[in-house]
Assembly symmetry: C2
Homo-oligomer: 220 residues x 2
Amino acid sequence: MADTELAPTRPGIYSRGTETVDAILKAAHDVLIEEGAEAFTVRRIATECGLRVGNVSYHFPKKEMLVQVLLDDIMENYNTKLDVNVRQPDLSDEERLRLVIVICLDDICSKRTTHLFTELWALANHNDFIAERVRGFYAKVHDVIGEYVQRINPALSPDEVHTLSLFISASMEGTTPFLGYKKPWNDKMAAITAISASWFIDLVKSTKPGDIADMTRRSS
Amino acid sequence: MADTELAPTRPGIYSRGTETVDAILKAAHDVLIEEGAEAFTVRRIATECGLRVGNVSYHFPKKEMLVQVLLDDIMENYNTKLDVNVRQPDLSDEERLRLVIVICLDDICSKRTTHLFTELWALANHNDFIAERVRGFYAKVHDVIGEYVQRINPALSPDEVHTLSLFISASMEGTTPFLGYKKPWNDKMAAITAISASWFIDLVKSTKPGDIADMTRRSS
DNA sequence: GCAAAAATAGGACGATCATCAAGATTTGGT
DNA sequence: ACCAAATCTTGATGATCGTCCTATTTTTGC
């Protein structure tokens, strides 16, 4: 198991308890997205789900526990959603990569993702637990993208596949603060999505083994 | 003047006062970057610059004033740095665009920028003043990029130039949470920078008028 | 049904927050 | 040198934070 360091376990033994824990987690999730990390207090969360402060403190004796359980919940949710949406049959590898790109950019436009990930990126600066979970999530995203990159262009080395996946993923995530939910250039997201789907696939197809190393060497 | 809404003025009349205000702003800047928005308290800032809480409160009666003056300071600083670095003589438009890309990605790797902008993106979710200043800053970045895009490919319409600039800028900013200062894939920044400089310029040169509209129409 | 365990209510704790008020000190113009 | 204004110290304000403690109520195992 290797749970030596981090093993936030979900409290709640009786059914009433687990229901309450669910309510607390949902409330915490909503407060974080609707009002931001600043408003993310035990009291605000308790109010949000109609509980008393002491009761929330009973289920999560330390606030950090709540943060960790919540984050695990959220990340697991994103991972399964990604899996479910991508594993469509009857699609070519190219169509699958296009689908991943469209799904990611579409998701970025949701209020949930726009707010959540900007908060997480900031929190990750000074919270190792959050940093590690965010890293793990994106590692999985890169793997999913990399799987199709490799199939579309089998000549590429694993390292080249990873670099390309990283580049595509970072480029997409970068739209969050500009073209995300209610962001200044949100109206341009359709065009950016179309460009991304088309150009990233072109990039994957046209990159030849050694290209990245050549470019890196030349520009250093 | 139309200063009805936002006109944060820098306090401090006597030279001693201005020095103190400078010290407060520097301390506030450092606290935000080194310890994040969570630690951004008047008390912490006062300690950082060896002042008493009441004195900081004297110069900035409301914390929001401090935030606004600080942010204006920071954004002005970034804008002038961008101008100074880009306005190099004896360079072709293509070399200038390459320079902007390299400068931006290099800057993203600094602790200051990596931490600062992730914090600002999060704060912008629920603080209109910050959201507006961040928007204004990136609008300027897009203009700088757009100027060279237009010159490299004069056939493109202003809207196409803007979309391309937005795409390039967003792609670069997206590297912040992944390849920025002490981020998980920071060691890949050299390769990503090389890819970006080369690929974005290729895109600008190869895009034909109508291409973006065609792709957008086809994918809707 | 009954005892034990779990869940909840309600209040209190000390710590820290932004802000303020009043007095002491320093500064700049004259 | 003097005075008013600017600056700084000091202490206190009420609000809010996370956490804890003790009853009280609800649920579960038997």
